[in-house]
């Protein structure tokens, strides 16, 4: 992989992969929902939507088909630390993809009519999420676990902010954050590195650098006691979720905690784009055995995601029909206490490492997935973090896992959420 930085501050990462005649281009911005201020929650995500609605040189009616005619797919997402856009298409579309991303960075239109029609699309997206009790619980749990850090509000935003934000709010935010010195361009595929860098310079080189982005500096104060919430809404199943404040990707306990999660609920890998689309290998894990095999829960899962600031380690379960949430919670907490008390065994550590090694291979099975990983890690601390992942996993010891368990799985560090359903009328 080659890394270069243009004069305007745009970082460009290129990696050649010649296994298929494809190229994947991702343009990453270090802006996510943690950069949003009260009254503007959801603006990062809404801006992402607006950035598919035409530019000075790609008029609104020419957006459709611009990459499809190369057989390509496109997409984008916004999360707490980053916003990203991608195209994957046949390699002859590389320059077209770079043109699209350069246009997106510099020349978005933000037509007032488009801002209005997208407002209702996003509110529909929010309502669709509220249809899912587990997603609703996740949102409420995060908002309860954080009282100061902006990770507390959902990426999609609070609905009152979505109703009140204006076109100027969106455009101002776009201009502030969509500057080359706040972006990373990733190119992976059947390309020539020198040529790709030259094309990137040609397409992006003239875009002026912006003012350095000012970051919100709030840190979450240490949690001093267990927090609880219960959602009581009509539903047909009961859900439990535990959230523990967890280290950022740079924290010393992150990789030991990743091992700990593999022991508890199965290894997932670290690719937000692909790892979570299939269930982890988990049938021999501690919580699966204690909850699913004991007929208390129909499902259990854990999530530790690499983030720039300390976020949450969550463990979730769906209660089996007829099982009280209190029972599921008691057994889950007992298992966690046992782990804090006794740590993990050498055999568990070995198995977790083998699982993670395999998952990292599976995470890199396409040019799209490889490009995602390079860019994602760049937005949370640096691409070199990504290349060091296998080594950091391999170096974890049982003592480190025990220390991570003690530091993270404390009662005072947790928030417990229930979705306790009322009968459906």
């Amino acid at each position: 992989m080659r890394s270069a930085t243009l004069d305007n501050g745009l970082k460009v990462l290129v990696r050649e992969e010649h296994t298929a005649p494809l190229a994947s281009v991702w343009c990453w911005y270090k802006v996510g929902s943690k950069d949003e201020r009260p009254g503007q929650t959801g603006v990062s995500h809404w801006v992402e939507h607006m950035n598919f609605k035409g530019t000075t040189n790609i008029p609104r009616d020419q957006v459709k088909g611009i990459i499809e005619r190369f057989g390509g797919s496109w997409n984008g997402y916004t999360w707490i630390d980053q916003t990203t856009y991608l195209e994957t298409a046949t390699k002859d579309a590389l320059d077209r993809m770079l043109f699209i991303e350069a246009e997106r960075m510099a020349n978005g239109l933000y037509h007032p009519d488009d801002c209005e029609s997208e407002r209702t699309v996003i509110i529909a997206e929010l309502e669709g999420g509220e249809n899912d009790p587990d997603q609703l619980l996740d949102q409420e749990l995060t908002a309860t676990a954080f009282k100061a850090h902006p990770y507390r509000h959902p990426t999609i935003g609070w609905v009152s902010d979505l109703r009140s934000m204006t076109r100027d709010d969106l455009y101002g935010y776009y201009r502030r954050y969509y500057v080359p010195n706040n972006a990373t361009l990733v190119i992976v595929g059947d390309v020539n590195t020198d040529e790709a860098l030259r094309n990137a310079e040609r397409r992006f080189g003239a875009i002026p650098a912006g003012t350095a982005v000012e970051r919100i500096r709030t840190e979450e104060p240490e949690q001093t006691g267990e927090r609880r919430l219960t959602i009581r809404k009509p539903g047909t199943a009961a859900y439990l979720k535990l959230g523990y404040h967890a280290p950022s990707i740079a924290g010393e306990h992150f990789f030991p905690l990743l091992i700990l999660d593999a022991v508890l609920t199965g290894a997932k890998g670290l690719n937000l784009w692909s790892s979570f689309r299939s269930a982890p290998p988990q049938r021999s894990t501690r919580l699966y055995r204690a909850l699913v095999e004991k007929r208390l829960a129909s499902w259990v899962g854990g999530a530790l995601l690499p983030t720039e600031d300390p976020f949450l380690y969550t463990i979730s379960a769906t209660a089996l029909e007829g099982t009280p949430l209190a029972t599921v919670e008691a057994v889950m907490l007992e298992e966690l206490d046992r782990l804090v008390r006794d740590g993990v065994t050498d055999a568990e550590l070995t198995k977790a490492k083998a699982q993670l090694r395999a998952r990292l291979v599976f995470d890199n099975d396409s040019v799209t997935n490889i490009a995602h990983q390079l860019g994602y890690f760049e937005t949370i601390g640096g691409v070199e973090l990504f290349t060091s992942v296998p080594e950091r996993i391999a170096g974890v010891t049982v003592e480190q896992v025990a220390a991570a368990a003690r530091a993270t799985l404390a009662e005072s560090n947790r928030t417990i959420g229930w979705f306790d359903p009322l009968p459906v009328a």
Binding site: A20, I122, N131
Partner: protein, 417 residues
């Protein structure tokens, strides 16, 4: 580069399809038997689904925990999928693990023991899952639509998971009998894609499956779908929800119908291209009514469905249904343009390399190719099959497939109708 998979047949009739690739040191394994939910015994909808939940929880020689350890220690997630016609075991493993993993999957497929305790656990899980589906407007609208399009116990109209009553009534003996009736080498295909040579894939498959002997089960051919004569509308009130799901559909054609490629292009223009085709342009982009709207075509052994799905605020349900109607009238009356057909065709042809990039995607493609008898050179022929479709073919497909006066419309969500 064409895929050119190597196809061999074992003495017992089991087909092995192998395709070597070198992207990662991994192998995708995709085993399918022609024993999907259409094989559910009469009155026992959900039997195949329940079998899929328990088939990997013990074999004649391995306990559930043995299987769990063998999979987990290699970082493998075994996915067991049930479609209308296929029962599939799917996973990706490291290339070094290929031989023992295929051995394990073969054991699971051929010799499940279905311990009573495991069955009881999985029954409870499926019941909980059915209860969750009951609270999901997307699932409720789609299942109700399929039941209306395929009535009278037609296999395409039944709920794959069955009902709580059928699931609770199923016994170990009944599931073992279902397995004995429907699982046989002559109806099984093993697809192996990845960092393994075809000759080795064949040899390992021969060692795993060569001694398996079972008589061929009769093929399952559901009755033809009967086209609705009139428009129907059903509301499933779910007043505890924030958003309504619309499922709007028709029965169309068989996968082997020569008009399939015209239907495919028609559906791409109508509800797929870019962000939901014409439907997306109208309902999402111009009117801002939905986060998602699209149509899907699922031509199958018999006439499969074309389904439009949209998630909208309850206040917009009537306007969204009217907009779908309007797009259908335009599609049927005015037809599509040559430019639209060319754009969709170029996209579908151009997307083939991307669609066949990963081992898992190639394996899935080859399994479909084998099931429908499309030929080993299907990926190479596909561009010409799409190029041969004319504008008239696409417009004829539109007139045949959709009409507002015979649409079946289901709305599930906070909407009283």
């Amino acid at each position: 580069m064409p895929l050119s998979p190597i196809r061999t047949t074992l003495g017992n009739g089991l087909v092995v399809l192998a395709k070597p690739t070198a992207m990662t040191p991994s192998v995708a394994i995709h085993l399918s038997t022609r024993a999907g939910s259409a094989a559910d015994p009469a009155g026992l909808a959900g039997a195949t689904w329940l079998l899929s939940r328990v088939i990997d929880r013990g074999t004649v020689t391995r306990s559930a925990m043995d299987i769990a350890e063998e999979l987990d220690s290699r970082g493998i997630t075994l996915t067991i999928a049930v479609t209308r016609h296929l029962f599939s075991l799917v996973c990706t493993c490291l290339a070094d693990d290929f031989e023992p993993v295929l051995g394990l999957l073969g054991d699971v497929l051929m010799a499940p023991s279905i311990p009573d305790a495991e069955l009881a656990t999985r029954q409870k899980q499926v019941v909980t899952s059915i209860r969750q589906d009951e609270d999901n407007p997307g699932v409720r609208s789609t299942e109700a639509l399929m039941a209306l399009l395929y009535p009278d116990g037609h296999p395409y109209g039944r709920r794959t998971k069955g009902t709580i009553e059928t699931v609770e009534s199923l016994t170990r003996d009944r599931l073992l009998a279902l397995h004995a009736e429907r699982f046989a080498p002559s109806t099984t295909t093993a697809v192996v894609v990845g960092d393994v040579e075809p000759a080795r894939a064949h040899d390992v498959a021969a060692r795993v499956f060569g001694a398996w002997s079972r008589p061929s089960p009769p093929p399952i051919v559901p009755p033809p779908a009967v086209r609705p004569a009139a428009r129907r509308r059903l509301v499933v009130p779910m007043m505890n929800k924030a958003q309504a799901d619309i499922a709007y559909g028709f029965t169309t054609i068989r996968r082997r119908d020569p008009r399939y490629y015209a239907f495919w292009l028609m559906n791409n223009v109508f509800g797929q291209y870019s962000l939901g085709g014409r439907l997306g342009d109208s309902i999402r982009e111009r009117q801002g009514m939905a986060y998602y709207v699209s149509s899907s075509l699922d031509a199958n052994v018999v006439e499969g469905p074309l389904v439009v799905r949209a998630g909208v605020s309850p206040a917009n349900v009537d306007r969204a249904v009217a907009s779908i109607d309007e797009e259908i009238v335009k599609l049927v009356t005015d037809g599509v343009t040559q430019q639209e057909v060319d754009d969709s065709r170029q996209f579908l042809i151009g997307s083939i390399p991307r669609a066949l990039e990963t081992n898992a995607a190639i394996a899935n493609f080859l399994q479909t190719e084998e099931f429908f008898g499309l030929g080993l050179d299907y990926d190479a022929r596909l561009p010409d099959l799409l190029r041969a479709v004319t504008l008239d073919d696409v417009n004829a497909a539109a007139r045949d497939a959709v009409a507002v006066d015979r649409a079946t419309v289901v709305i599930a969500g906070p909407y009283a109708g």
